[in-house]
Symmetry: C2
Subunit: 219 residues, 2 copies
DNA sequence: GATATTCAAATTGGATCCAATATTCAATAT
DNA sequence: ATATTGAATATTGGATCCAATTTGAATATC
């Protein structure tokens, strides 16, 4: 007799749970930049001691999501316009490469999944959902590449700019433009046109960058 | 009366010291892949408790340098040939971009410094020193770009492949070729030819990749 | 003899406690 | 009124202790 593996992820230490929760809060902007992360306070929220909290914070620091100073504690790190722009440039270099590798490997299933995210993105009216669907759409298209290191690198970069990216989507016609570009990328992938998908992805990211920088300069 | 700031970096927690030491040991290959990291053992080495050791290990894990399993502990992570190749491709995409931005911003001082590393690399006969000088040479050329995110990303990628990169240098004419390519990159930078520097950097990295993969396939 | 079971040792994850440092704010001096 | 000192408080870094889990060897079972 065989049992299905249940995966009751007992593989979840308190530190991991706290790490994920804090990361999510930072990425979604629920923790504003500059906000201090008090170990005691967080420990109480999760009914743990400060030990796993410290581990979570030190891991976040390695991702650049918080900055901590000895005996002073950690704060959520922000991004200057220059840094944000740099990260968009970084993505604009990597993601076209990833999707070019990915296109010839995409299965009909992956394409269908991507299209469903694309459609959901188009009709969603919840700004918080946009960021999520946007990432899922692109990630689904990229996954077929099998480039795990690249994918991790891009995820990490997105984690850093996600708050700003969402802010940019809310702007003027940010959503409309993003949606239009998504459709064109999706079409290119379905046609199997890797070069077009790469070029459209490049423009998609640079367009978002310009829109974001315009927004940031007005603050 | 003014005093010079002394910067007695009291800003060094035990966790940071242990992190740096373990990272160095892994990068230099003194800790072989698969080697278990026993918290107790490491704590005794540094005359500390296991708490800062755990923090160091969890930070290393975020960099992909170790893999840890709940209640089982952490081991130094290795790289398959495919993963190593992927990381070289990643570098081959990013580093040309960085040096292209960097070239027009390089100061005579930076160029002189790079050349000195280049020369030192040429005459060094210590394999362990090669990796260090190689990184310093490239880092010096890249620094002028001011692309801090890109630089961190490349450093992180290099951390993952440094052991293999050094192994590759030891091969046949690895050093001779690397040295020749370094000179050509240095020359391009001194001429202010950003495109040439970028193209040479691209070839330099892909050449190392091919050499490495040839080496790995023989194991 | 090979496989399953039990149990002690080893190891990690986390809680509690203590030390080191920073911050706050009232008391004092200029 | 402002600047400075200094103690009280808050906060972080680390040590020690306990609980949960894994590992491996000894024993039992077929």
């Amino acid at each position: 007799m065989q049992f299905k593996s249940v995966d009751i992820s007992k593989t979840a230490s308190a530190a991991s749970i706290i790490f994920d929760a804090l990361k999510k809060a930072i990425i979604e902007g629920n923790l504003e930049e500059g906000a201090p992360l008090r170990q005691d306070e967080i420990a109480k929220m999760f009914n743990t001691s400060r030990i796993p909290v410290r581990e979570a914070i030190s891991r976040l620091e390695e991702h650049g999501l918080v900055k901590s100073q000895r005996y002073k504690g950690a704060v959520v790190s922000g991004l200057s316009a220059g840094e944000a722009g740099e990260i968009f440039d970084y993505r604009a270099i990597l993601e076209p490469h990833i999707i070019r590798i990915s296109v010839p490997k995409m299965t009909p299933k992956a394409l269908a999944e991507a299209r469903s995210f694309c459609d959901a993105f188009a009709v969603s009216d919840d700004p918080m959902e946009w960021g999520d669907l946007n990432r899922k759409f692109h990630a689904t298209l990229y996954n077929a590449s099998g480039l795990t290191f690249h994918l991790e690198a891009v995820e990490s970069a997105l984690d850093r700019v996600d708050r700003y990216l969402r802010a940019q989507l809310v702007l003027s016609n940010g959503m409309a433009r993003a949606n239009d570009e998504h459709l064109r990328i999706q079409d290119a992938c379905e046609r199997g046109d890797a070069d077009a998908a790469a070029e459209l992805t490049h423009q998609h990211i640079l367009g978002a960058k310009n829109s974001l920088l315009k927004h940031l300069s007005k603050l």
